[in-house]
């Protein structure tokens, strides 16, 4: 004879078994859901990596709107690619989509260096030797005039560097510098001369961050002289000024482009930016520019070239990572000058269609392309003299990438910097 409570016992046991079974099913369901999510994520990662490779290795180098297509003409392989012109470099935007999930990557693209053309020094053949004095060191290949290189006694200093003078292979240079890439120059001209009359001024907020997934934010400071202070600008932003612009040390610039008539960077500034000016760029003491930064004087208007000489000055103790260059569409009577001050370190490339002037203990970890070197004392001006300066091509990273603008690059494009991802 069964007890009357047996029914309750059976119901309770059935309930417990039911709960156990349900929890097992729910666990299996969530496990499967998670697996599918992980699998989809891996597939998205593969697809976005394919899109990145298409941007790097593809032959389409146009700057068009985002292009969406199926990678392999199968299900769940839609990607979108876009190339954005960003001064001397390009920005790539790659997205992969499956159902509601999207993975994106934005990154800076630059070119690898052509080791056969890369040199520590390229000095135009102006039929005069390069003269070295003081504790000067040039490490790497050098392209010089057939007159070669000599020791010199300047400012009461004899040459005290390596007896080989050039620690590398010497080649004969041409009468003119290897030219900058014409296509890139045209794009830079369009950037600098673009119509910005209706663009807004500086926002009242203390920071502005604009993703490369969004349209470019253009800020027009107009014709009033401005000093940027206590502001952070980052990403897809181009700042235009029709006159002099000062960047205070309290300004933070990250990957932005600045175009102005002349630019002064106050002492203590730290950032990564591309500065394009028409007349002068002055970088005060102890500033630090992170890679990939650019300082450039670009002159496309022949009438303005004759008015005033172009000058880029880096004063004492500046550390600059990137490229410094001058470009004039027509040669002027006053050649452009790049002044590298005392204890300044430049990691990258210096390209001058005029003079490059070094002061004591200046260091270039990379390459200098110039028409002439200049060394000035209070009383005397020496042309094609390098005194107490180090130019060492070997100190540059083996992974160094640079702009296609310069004549030392290959067609191979690589990722210079990851900018945004999810």
């Amino acid at each position: 004879m069964l007890k009357a409570s047996a029914l309750y016992m059976v119901i309770i046991i059935a309930l417990v078994i039911g709960i156990l079974c349900s929890s097992l099913i729910v666990t299996a369901y969530f496990y499967r859901l998670q697996y599918q999510k992980t699998f989809r994520h891996e597939q998205l990662q593969n697809n976005v990596a394919s899109a990145v490779n298409i941007l790097l290795g593809g032959t389409d180098t146009s700057y068009a709107a985002p292009k969406t297509f199926s990678l392999f003409n199968q299900d769940a392989d839609s990607v979108s690619t876009q190339r954005i012109f960003w001064g001397t470099i390009d920005i790539g935007v790659a997205k992969a989509m499956i159902q509601q999930d999207t993975i994106y990557r934005t990154f800076a693209i630059a070119n690898t260096i052509d080791s056969s053309k890369w040199a520590a020094v390229y000095l135009d053949d102006n039929s005069r030797p390069l003269s070295l004095s003081g504790n000067t060191s040039i490490v790497g290949d050098a392209y010089l005039s057939p007159a070669g290189v000599d020791q010199a006694y300047v400012n009461n200093q004899a040459y005290t560097g390596d007896k080989r003078l050039i620690i590398g292979v010497k080649h004969n240079s041409e009468k003119t510098l290897p030219p900058l890439n014409v296509g890139r120059l045209q794009e830079l001209q369009q950037l600098i001369q673009q119509n910005r009359k209706n663009e807004p001024g500086l926002p009242s907020t203390d920071s502005l961050i604009n993703s490369f997934l969004l349209p470019t934010k253009i800020i027009n400071l107009g014709k009033s002289v401005n000093t940027l202070k206590h502001i952070k600008l980052s990403g897809n932003i181009i700042l235009f000024s029709d006159t002099a612009l000062t960047l205070d040390s309290t300004t933070q610039l990250n990957n932005v482009i600045v175009v102005a008539q002349s630019i002064t960077v106050n002492s203590g500034f730290h950032g990564a930016c591309q500065l394009f000016a028409h007349d002068t760029i002055g970088v005060q003491q102890r500033c630090r520019f992170d890679y990939p930064s650019v300082l450039a004087i670009m002159r496309f208007d022949p009438a303005s070239i004759l008015k005033k000489g172009a000058k880029i000055s880096l004063y004492n103790n500046v550390v600059f990572n990137g490229c410094i260059f001058t470009y004039e569409q027509q040669a002027s009577t006053l050649p452009p000058l790049i002044h590298i001050g005392k204890k300044v370190t430049v990691k990258g490339l210096v390209y001058s269609q005029g003079y490059v002037e070094f002061q004591d203990k200046a260091e270039i970890d990379g390459s200098v392309f110039t028409d002439r070197f200049l060394y000035q004392t209070s009383f005397t001006r020496y042309e094609n003299y390098v005194v107490n300066t180090t130019i060492n091509e070997k100190l540059l990273s083996t992974y160094y990438l640079t702009s296609v603008l310069f004549p030392v690059t290959t067609k191979k494009k690589r990722i210079l910097q990851w900018l945004e991802s999810n």
Binding site: R32, T59, F72
Partner: protein
């Protein structure tokens, strides 16, 4: 009988769509193969066997782009049933 039939159908459906260790292992092998292809300068179309799984690798030019290569990988079990596929576009090492 009807209930038994429905139960068997549900069971078969669940077993077919459930995760299998073989499938996960196949995916790991394909990922590893893909990584090796990306670092290698001369990948070619081939078929090979790893842990009783037949891996079919097809290497071809992507979209007539001279510097891009498409790699298609497929894993098959002992019965010849396709378990998983993987596709990726890579940059030629010899670019």
């Amino acid at each position: 009988m009807v209930v038994f039939g429905i139960a068997m159908m549900i069971y078969a459906n669940i077993v077919q769509s459930s995760l299998s260790v073989t499938k996960i292992r196949a995916q790991a092998i394909l990922n590893q193969t893909l990584q090796a292809d990306e670092t290698s300068a001369n990948s070619s179309s081939t078929t090979f066997t790893v842990d009783n799984l037949n891996i079919e690798q097809t290497v071809k030019n992507y979209n007539n782009e001279p510097n891009l290569t498409e790699i298609d990988l497929a894993a098959y079990d002992a019965n010849g049933q396709q378990l998983i596929t993987l596709h990726k576009v890579i940059i030629n090492k010899n670019e």
